[in-house]
Amino acid sequence: MSTVPWRFMEWLARALDLAEQEAVLGDLYESRSGALACAVGLAGLVLRRQMQAWSDWRPWLGLVGIAMPVGLLLADFALMLARTFDLYVWIAWNYAVMDMQILEETGFTLRHGAVVIGSYLALLLVWSWTGGFALASISGRALWWNAAAVCVVWLVHARIEEPRIALPLLWVCFAAGAWQGMHRRRLAGGRAAALLCCTLALTAIAIYSAGWWRAGNGVSKQIAVVLILSWPVFYVAAAACSFRKSALQ
């Protein structure tokens, strides 16, 4: 088989477990069948494995619990961050001609802007990394479908709202988290605890420095949003604890 179809086969086989990749690619190599027959056979196996993965409840939890709601809320949050950033860029740009008194009274000072944008950005990065990690950890082999669902949510969101710089940042962090989650599945206890503390601290800073990102929202709604967005980090911490317990037994 020539190099290009074989490379495609190797790429396709990456959806399989490592040991199965090795055995299946070896079998295909040994069979000396045509590239098309090999590709169809391999695609069939990958499809069967994906179908098997969905017979478990965890990928469904990943889809319903992270990919859809957290994906949507993160995209919304990214947009709010971008709008806040735009506002402060505009203030900075017109700083020389603005009335300082009005800025002080409304609270839109550059120092305040730096704190708000910094805390939002840090929180967005932590939330998206954790979301990616938890999604990969829960979904297992079905990760690609759930990652595709997140991408669809974000693309639809970006079509409705203007795409901003925060969205690519979100993608990169989410993908980095998913990559880590795919290879590790569970964080060590210390790291999970640090991640939990960091997320909760950043959430508190974001809430108290900016009065949350939406004016007019009730406290209960804010808490609900925080809980939804933060649940992956609690999952990561719980998974680390259960891993520690099983290792000690």
Binding site: A23, G26, S31, G41, G44, L45, R48, R49
Partner: protein, 104 residues
Amino acid sequence: MLGEFEYLLLSAAASLGEEAYGASIRAMVEEATGTSCSIGALYTTLDRLEQKGLLKTWMGGATAQRGGRAKRMVRITPKGIEAAAHFYGVVRRMTTGLAWEMTT
């Protein structure tokens, strides 16, 4: 009771003995049935048989003939031999006295 494809795989694994692995089982099934055996069906059925305790599989060594890739070796277990023998017995009993005639 076993399915027919499961029975074919168990029979191939038993016949091939120490040389039973994915590609050799597939080749034997294709030769015996005259139809192609998809790699997807082969590997998912091997998994199912292993879960039932009818087969044992492990990763073997890599060979140049396979592009340096390892084999998934297969061995039939005593429980697998019993299940295959039961299936064969049922087929034999069911077909005793029958004379199939090819109409084509």
